[in-house]
């Protein structure tokens, strides 16, 4: 470390309010995960373009803190329930680090990852930590970790866009909407009605869904228990893009359909039930809000008897149902889930997830490719590797589509008490095979297991 600096800030207002629905969801998640909640931290890097001096960079950082109440918020449990507390003023301490032999952006990404390993004390800490990466005494990048209680990926993208403008010295209009405003809105009748409708949808699924994601009994897990297997595949992205255009469905639906198919096949069932992590920013007011708005939708897909094209169309339709019903008061949702649990003996386990982190639903820097056969030829370049491990993130299965612009990134977290790492690897490659083969022929659903080299794990039903 080469030094430190302090960024004092003074925003337009302070206050205390109940949590927004997005914050309530995340509040519960961080407490359920305990020491593993660092999984939920959000590392992020903001590059410093041009020859800006440290004072200009710290001024821009101060502007972000003053604009967005979420970045000045702590979260506390009170007898009346958890609250968000917005501070008007304060200061953020930042370390200054020389990049040395590393490229500054590379150093910033490494440092952001390191910052993310420490959990936040949500009641005392500002919800971000920052290190300025210097090169020859000049700031070149900012490495951050944010608490997921303060931001989601859409919020991070907003911060990136504002950062570029602030560094150029532009005056930005004040944000029109803050999480305290959202918390007030969510108490209104129209939002309560939407919440009630969403909860009715979830209840209709929970009344019927199997109690467990898998029928087979747990086995001795690996240590650490939860493994993330990652795949980088240009073929995956190219095939998803072409099938999306051919079948007039979104690339997210194509990927979701393939992930749900391999999950259903491995679980030995004809129905996949997954939670969809959803940005939830369909209300125009939330589009420019820095905060955590995302909630989970509940997606159900019955594998059709026909082909994979029909599966993608069904996935698109059912994802719409899931997204629409991803807007609810998590407290009311939890009460309903507990009521279902009392009736059915215990709460159904919904620990299978899908998250598409891409904003635009495309891969803008994908190499130009020729025929569909050329795409198939690229599968030899696909990389699959163990990306990370945690002791207790509480997922059975969690698919994530990553944000890389030049290749398809798909990762899968598995609970190794349920699925072995080689099964996770086979599931990822199975998704790729399903998409690539669908480019050149109709893939009947009856032949998916054989085509993808997967089978019901432990004997399904």
């Amino acid at each position: 470390m080469t030094g430190s600096a302090t960024v004092p800030f003074s925003g337009p207002r302070d206050g205390e309010a109940t949590l927004t629905w997005g914050q309530r969801l995340m509040w519960r998640a961080v407490h359920l995960m305990g020491d593993s909640q660092s999984f939920l931290n959000c590392p992020w890097v903001l590059p410093v373009h041009g020859r800006r001096d440290l004072a200009a960079v710290l001024r821009a950082l101060r502007a972000l803190l003053e604009r967005h109440e979420s970045l000045r918020t702590t979260f506390a449990a009170t007898p009346g329930g958890p609250v968000q507390r917005v501070a008007r003023g304060g200061e953020l301490a930042v370390d200054l680090v020389e990049s040395g032999r590393e490229r500054p952006l590379q150093a910033a990404e490494r440092i952001a990852g390191e910052l993310g390993r420490t959990v936040f004390a949500h009641g005392e800490d500002l919800p971000l930590r920052c290190v300025v990466v210097m090169d020859g005494g000049r700031p070149k990048a900012l490495a951050f970790v944010f608490s997921h209680l303060a931001v989601d990926f859409q919020a991070l993208s907003l911060l990136s866009a504002e950062w570029r403008a602030l560094l150029r010295g532009e005056e930005l209009p004040p944000p029109a909407w803050q999480p305290m405003d959202q918390a007030a809105l969510e108490r209104e009748e129209v939002f309560q009605a939407r919440s009630a409708r969403s909860i009715r949808h979830w209840r209709s699924v929970l009344d019927e869904v199997p109690l467990d994601v898998f029928d087979h009994p747990p086995r001795e897990p690996e240590e650490p228990r939860f493994l993330e297997v990652g795949m980088e595949s240009v073929a995956l992205a190219a095939a998803a893009g072409r099938l999306s255009a051919r079948w007039t469905v979104g690339t997210t639906s194509v990927l979701l359909a393939a992930c749900a198919t391999v999950l259903a096949e491995v679980s030995g069932r004809r129905r996949a039930v997954m939670q969809l992590v959803h940005s939830n920013r369909r209300d125009a007011r939330t589009r420019s809000m820095v905060g955590t708005v995302g909630q989970d939708g509940l997606f159900v897909l019955d594998l059709p008897a026909t082909d994979f094209a029909a599966t993608c169309r069904a996935a698109q339709r059912n994802a719409l149902v899931a997204y629409r019903n991803a807007h609810y008061d998590p407290y009311a949702m939890q009460a309903m889930r507990e009521e279902v649990g009392r009736r059915r003996g215990r709460e159904p386990d919904l620990d299978a997830f899908f998250n598409d982190r891409r904003g635009a639903g495309s891969w803008p820097n994908l190499p130009r490719l020729g025929s569909d056969e050329d795409v198939a030829g690229l599968t030899g370049e696909t990389r699959v590797h163990v990306a990370d491990a945690w002791p207790g993130v509480r997922f059975k299965v969690f698919f994530t589509v990553g944000t890389a612009a030049e290749t398809g990134q798909l990762s899968l977290i598995v609970d190794t008490a349920c699925l072995r790492r080689d099964t996770a690897r086979a599931m990822l490659l199975g998704v790729e095979t399903l998409l690539v083969r669908s480019l050149t022929e109709d893939v009947p659903m009856a032949g998916v297991c054989r085509l993808c080299g997967i089978s019901a794990y432990g004997g399904g039903r």
Binding site: V249, T252, R282, D283, A319, L320, R324
Partner: protein, 89 residues
């Protein structure tokens, strides 16, 4: 096309342009040369549009039906008109 049908299509095209955040113009929607997905109408925008249609016309749209998967404004307008007639009956 009747005047009412034309007006409904125009209103819906304006709504689609609004939920697309400026990515799609009402004229592109009305031209109908490309499916709305190809023009860039995302799932999120579709859900926002359905919220707006429900609020504006006082209808309840069943997402399991055909209506949410429309690719042309004419199909959407016909489905909505039928829903409105059903409510009036």
């Amino acid at each position: 096309m009747t005047a009412d049908a034309g007006r409904l299509e125009r209103e819906l095209a304006d709504m689609i342009a609004g939920v697309s955040g400026g990515g799609i113009s009402a004229e592109e929607v009305l031209a109908g040369e490309h499916p709305l997905s190809a023009l860039g109408l995302t799932s999120l925008a579709r859900i926002h549009l359905i919220d707006e249609i429900e609020d504006a016309y006082g209808v309840d749209i069943d997402l399991r039906g055909e209506l949410p998967t429309f690719e042309h404004v004419g199909t959407l307008a016909t489905a909505l008109a039928s829903l409105l007639e059903g409510d009036a009956a």
